[in-house]
């Protein structure tokens, strides 16, 4: 069985625009908070495809269907894996809480016919062999880092804020990150990750986005590991937002049934 320890995937890909604030004097922290606090809709569903490309250009593809529901105090996600063949039928469920309580996570392995509660304490693990760690995919709280506004810069013809974030936890897997955030929409456009020695490790680029049900959704993103010359392209399709996903979707019953 492949490494199937999962966390939020869609969070990083669904970022809303629409802020028209006068942001000339915003601090680094305020900019990151505006990114963090953007509304993302009450629920959403989509098909996520990850293409892993190694240094020789060889590709591996992972596919899953995912559903997310946010009720204000907690967010529930469920993912159903459809490819590759040896993980087909596997499902993963995550409940996260605004109170700061640790996430609850369960995995259903169809071969074992069993739902297992798993530890959410492995944020630095790589997600299914991709270049994204679980923490990369999660909703990192602004208070976890010290933020510094560096400059304004035009990237791909778009005006951006550039903010440096240094983790307060010295044992964190990155020594710092630098994020390019679109001034008009507070969407992250690019992010650089530096390793514990301060060397550039990874670059994440947003490749495309769409407005769906009034919300800007990033539909394609690339994470490139510069040290290993390996990259992952993550794309969303069939995105539906605010369709009224019932609570019963996030239960043992659905994990085992697989739809």
């Amino acid at each position: 069985m492949k490494n199937l320890k999962f966390t939020s995937v869609l969070i990083i890909l669904t970022m809303i625009g629409g802020f028209n604030l006068s942001a000339q004097n915003l601090t680094g922290k305020q900019i990151i908070e505006k990114v963090y606090n953007r509304p993302t809709g009450d629920d959403q569903s989509s098909i996520l495809t990850m293409t892993l490309i190694n240094a020789q250009g060889k590709q591996r593809v992972r596919k899953l269907n995912q559903f997310i529901k946010d009720n204000g105090t907690n967010e529930k996600k469920i993912m159903f894996f459809t490819a590759p063949a040896d993980v087909k039928g596997t499902s993963f469920m995550n409940w996260s809480y605004t109170s700061g309580k640790s996430d609850d996570q369960w995995i259903y392995l169809p071969a074992l016919k069993k739902i297992k509660r798993i530890s959410s304490d492995s944020k630095s693990d790589y997600f299914m062999g991709s270049d994204f760690t679980y923490d990369d995919l999660g909703d990192r709280h602004p208070n976890d880092d010290t933020h510094k506004f560096l400059r304004e810069e035009t990237l791909f013809g778009v005006k951006c804020y550039v903010v440096q974030s240094i983790p307060k936890d010295e044992d964190y897997m990155y020594s710092k990150t630098i994020t390019w955030i679109i001034k008009t929409s507070f969407i992250g456009l690019k992010k650089e990750f530096y390793d514990e020695d301060g060397d550039l490790l990874k670059i994440m680029d947003v490749n495309s986005s769409q407005k769906i049900s009034g919300i800007n959704v990033i539909t394609k993103i690339t994470m490139q590991n510069k040290q290993k010359n390996h990259k992952t392209i993550m794309s969303l399709s069939n995105v539906k937002i605010n369709v009224g996903i019932p609570d019963s979707k996030f239960t043992e019953r659905m994990m085992m049934r697989g739809i």
Binding site: N3, V61, A85, D86, K113, G129, T251
Partner: protein, 413 residues
């Protein structure tokens, strides 16, 4: 002819599935093992697993035949599962041959007693292959996020044990010549002989738990022993001259439960069951059929946690016979531990795993290291070893001569 029939059967499965626009998946696997002691092949097995299934809004089905090919020309076709699902608003019904897995334990069977085990290769098969499917009707009734499950099994299926000639067969030792009467070992399918199980499952933020009960048959037959005596002409004392052994399954009642929760990154698991009316062998000369009936407890506590990127898991298991009689052959307490460590490389291509059973009572162990390399998303190669060590009277140590290394090549589709 047999091969042709099997091929036709698989073709029917395939065509049926295609007609229903069903999903196909499965694998082809070669499994070759070599004994350390002798260099002899311990197993040479080719497996074709075909899973045809479809899940709709109101109905679903699954057919899962498995074809095992052993050595030169031995075929074994098994229908692991074949069932139909009916989905309603608040409940589901599953009818047909199915595997049922209960409890929170890994590699230990405490409340997980609905599907009997196939122990023809001891505990070595993958856990999805070690359970036998049972013909059953299963009802799942949903109360919010919780589930009330009831199972009715009209046909009893016993544990499959190794046959004489298998390297996993242990020749029992008797103090006198033994003859077996198997006439009472079979349970005929009937309403009276049915098994029934019930379970309530809750999956919550704070804790997951299951509460279960069962009215079942002991999957392992009880050996009723009639002793024959004669007078020793030299000592004029009675002497044992023969044993008449009648294997017979008996009813068993059990109640139990399990839980799992996470505390500061550590998953804590527990599972336990109270078994009522189990027969044990006794050396008490007054014991009828050399048996004594006792209740017993079987439980475990386990933890799962990570150190760095290594996943670790350990379980302590105890089996305790209540109101113990010193004439019993089984020990009053039997303690076992399991240990698991797993590391997946960041690329998710290479996987290292070590799983061990450690018999604390008999000082023996089964140690199972393995390395898996995924050539691509379909093809993997697994190199592993099963090492039995310790007291030859122990559950694991008795197989010391069967320590082996093995290779599994697997293509998934």
């Amino acid at each position: 002819m047999k091969k042709l029939s099997i091929l036709l059967l698989f073709a029917v499965f395939a065509l049926t599935g295609k007609a229903q626009n069903a999903d196909f998946s499965g694998y082809v696997r070669n499994y070759t093992g070599v004994l350390y002691n002798t260099g002899d092949l311990s197993i040479l097995q080719n497996t074709f697993d075909l899973d045809v299934s479809k899940t709709g809004e109101k109905i679903g089905f699954k057919v899962n035949p498995m074809l095992y090919h052993y050595w030169a020309d031995s075929l074994d076709l098994r229908l692991r599962e074949a069932y139909v699902d009916l989905y309603f608003k608040n409940f589901d019904i599953r009818v047909g041959k199915q595997q049922v897995v209960w409890g929170k334990a890994d590699g230990v069977f405490i409340t997980d007693v609905v599907s009997p085990l196939n122990l023809t290769e001891f505990l070595l098969p993958e856990f999805d292959e070690i359970r036998t499917g049972v013909n059953a009707v299963k009802l799942d009734y949903y109360i919010g996020g919780n589930t009330l499950e009831a199972i009715w099994i009209p046909q009893f299926t016993p544990t499959e044990i190794p046959q004489a000639g298998s390297i996993w067969y242990i020749q029992p030792e008797f103090p006198a010549p033994a003859t077996f009467d198997w006439s009472k070992s079979e349970i005929k399918p009937s309403l009276e002989n049915s098994e029934a199980f019930i379970k309530y499952t809750a999956l919550t933020s704070a804790i997951d738990f299951e509460i279960m009960g069962g009215y079942t048959w002991d999957d392992n037959p009880t050996m009723h022993v009639q002793k024959e005596f004669a007078v020793n002409p030299q000592t004029h004392q009675p002497m044992l001259t023969g044993l008449n052994i009648t294997p017979e399954h008996h009813r068993l009642y059990l109640a139990g439960g399990s839980f799992s929760t996470e505390i500061k990154g550590v998953v804590l698991r527990g599972e336990g069951a109270y078994y009522n009316g189990k027969y044990f062998q006794s050396e008490d000369p007054t014991a009828v059929d050399a048996l004594i009936q006792k209740d017993y407890l079987h439980y475990l506590l386990g933890v799962d946690f990570n150190i760095g990127n290594v996943k670790l898991s350990s379980q302590f298991i105890q089996q305790t016979i209540l109101d113990y009689d010193t004439n019993m052959l089984n020990p009053e307490f039997e303690n076992t531990m399991t240990f698991m460590a797993r590391y997946d490389t960041p690329s998710d291509l290479l996987h290292f795993e070590l799983f061990s059973y450690i018999g604390l009572t008999n000082q023996d162990a089964l140690i199972r290291p393995k390395i898996t390399y995924d050539f691509d998303d379909s093809f993997s190669i697994l190199l592993g070893s099963n090492i039995f060590v310790g007291d030859r009277d122990g559950r694991f140590g008795q197989y010391q001569d069967n320590s082996m290394m093995y290779l599994k090549l697997k293509y998934s589709f």
